[in-house]
Amino acid sequence: MTSNSAQDLYAIQAVDLTRKFGHFVAVDHINFHVEKGEVFGFLGANGAGKTTAIRMLIGLLRASEGTAKVAGFDIHTETERVKSSIGYMSQRFSLYEDLTVLENFELYGGIYGLSRSDVREKSSSALARLGLESHKKSILSSLPLGWKQKLAFMVAQLHNPPIVFLDEPTGGVDPITRRQFWEMIYEAAAGGTTIFVTTHYMDEAEYCDRVSIMNAGRIEVMGTPGEIKEMLGAKSIDEAFVRIARPVED
């Protein structure tokens, strides 16, 4: 039961979202929203608070202060319903290495309540899309990292969630794979899925519809890549970021 229908326009909306660990403020009253069907880039250096923020949004961590709505559900009071509506790909690769490709699909399909035939159908098309049908019975640990990452993305979408969260999905893969990955992201977005992606590769920011840059727990700028570059008088997001990040004063 959501209150304000105006707010349902947004896939994600965060209001003063905060997280403290003792005295350390990892995420400091951030405010932003993500439109439906957007590809939203959540940028920042390591340690800026991106992962903490994302974990609050997907219900892995409780917010200390503030609130957020994901897919129209409140993260505090409707956490489980949030989870039914999202897909997630974690920074640490977390599919099961000792299961086969197909078994991983079947597991998560089952968890999200898909019928066996549904799972079969969707995993077939996912594998076809990746060109990995011949590997459906391969044990995951035997596959190269790039394939595993793509598979994880497919698994995240298995139950057709309206929003998919990707935490540093292209870490450690070669440029070609990164390219291919972003193609997949666009496909998903074209189908109406909202994509919330964090990354510290600033060039990937150019691929997003809108972007925010976090630094020391705060969102310093937000807007389309073009807007940001203009705001900061930078030629690339990379440069823009460098202008924002200042050395932390002790």
Partner: protein, 371 residues
């Protein structure tokens, strides 16, 4: 339901695919059982003893002979004085010295008392106690035979005859008791340690995060984790009992169905301890140590190695919180004494309560959302 089944399926696949673990889980207990059940006995065999015979009469020689012929003792030396004899004990060549006084035959003939000395090494307490019991037994038997032969029997003299009978286990075969007991231990240890480590492993690797992001309910996750080990535990038990019967000929007086019913509840209780441990640890090493620590204490106080009866009051109270002791008692009663449901229902209910409480705490403690 699909969620639970999907999780369950994954658990089984992971376990079965893990060859070494599987082999060990099933094979190790069996091997251990076979070897160690034979080891777990206190029976006396060929205890090395020294005789200091200060009389060397016909009577004393008969007495010494009765020691030599029993099979319990093995006379490795005769000495003239006690100090020499004690030297054997010091050098671990003997455990026991029998000192026969110089007035043995006189005492036998006249009816006046005399004292034999039993010097027993206390370094192995259990054996010392047994040596004492057996030696006394042999001596009393010999005393009776002297009595029956001596003439005349002084007026008012009589000796009493005491018959010792052991119920349920007439030969006092330690295996009757130890085999089911060890089986329980093995099943307990393997089950709970592995289940604790299993959950923590997901934490260590990170796959647990992926699960926490899904809408799975806590009870689904936990049940899926417990169920395979529960089944495996029951299978191990069945296998072990079969061996107990076929190889050791352990009596199974009572209903096996009852045993398995009780085992089902017991395993829940014990696995949930492992579960609880996994909710407080982050690495497999820690999980293993803590679970290990708890289990060893439970096992030592379970009544399998030393009687609960002998424990001080406070320890006996602590035993009430020890599921292992309940199940050992159940096994004992049903297998050896042929007890029925009436006799064990209290114990089974206690286990059921224990399991429910433990499981509830574990489910409550397991958080999908970090605080």
């Amino acid at each position: 339901m699909t969620t639970f089944l999907a999780l369950l399926r994954k658990e089984f696949i992971q376990i079965i695919r893990n060859r070494p673990i599987l082999v060990m889980m099933i094979g190790l207990p069996i091997v251990q059982l076979l070897i160690l059940a034979h080891a777990a006995t206190f029976e006396l065999r060929s205890v090395e003893m020294i005789v200091v015979d200060q009389e060397r009469s016909a009577e004393s020689r008969r007495l010494v002979q009765s020691f030599a012929s029993g099979g319990f003792f093995s006379i490795v030396g005769h000495e003239d004085n006690v100090d020499m004899a004690l030297g054997y004990i010091e050098s671990s060549e003997a455990m026991f010295v029998l000192v026969i006084p110089p007035d043995l035959s006189k005492s036998v003939q006249s009816g006046l008392p005399t004292k034999l000395q039993l010097l027993i090494s206390g370094e192995d307490g259990v054996r010392a106690g047994l040596i004492q019991a057996y030696a006394n037994g042999i001596i009393q038997l010999q005393a009776r035979s002297y009595l029956l032969e001596s003439m005349p029997v002084p007026k008012g003299a009589s000796s009493i005859e005491i018959r010792e009978l052991f119920a349920y286990n007439p030969e006092l075969d330690y295996k009757f008791f130890m085999v089911p007991g060890i089986l329980v231990l093995l099943v307990t240890l393997v089950g709970s340690l592995l289940s604790a480590m299993n959950i923590v492993r997901e934490k260590e690797i990170g796959t647990i995060e992926q699960l926490n992001v899904t809408p799975i309910r806590r009870w689904q996750f936990i049940s899926a984790k417990l169920f395979p080990f529960w089944i495996i535990g029951l299978v191990e038990l069945a296998f072990g009992l079969a061996i107990a019967k076929l190889v050791f000929n352990i009596p199974m007086m009572g209903s096996l169905l009852l045993v398995f019913m009780a085992a089902a509840v017991y395993l829940l209780a014990v696995l949930s301890i492992g579960l609880l441990v996994s909710t407080v640890t982050n690495t497999q090493q820690q999980a293993m140590f803590i679970a290990w620590f708890i289990l060893v204490i439970f096992i030592l106080m379970s009544g399998l190695f030393t009687p609960i009866q002998s424990m001080p009051e406070w320890a006996q109270m602590v035993t009430r919180l020890n599921p292992v002791s309940y199940f050992i008692e159940i096994m004992r009663r049903v297998l050896l004494k042929g007890a029925g449901w009436m006799s064990i229902q209290g114990l089974v209910f206690a286990l059921a309560v224990y399991a429910s409480i433990m499981l509830s705490i574990a489910v409550w403690r397991y958080r999908k959302v970090a605080a």
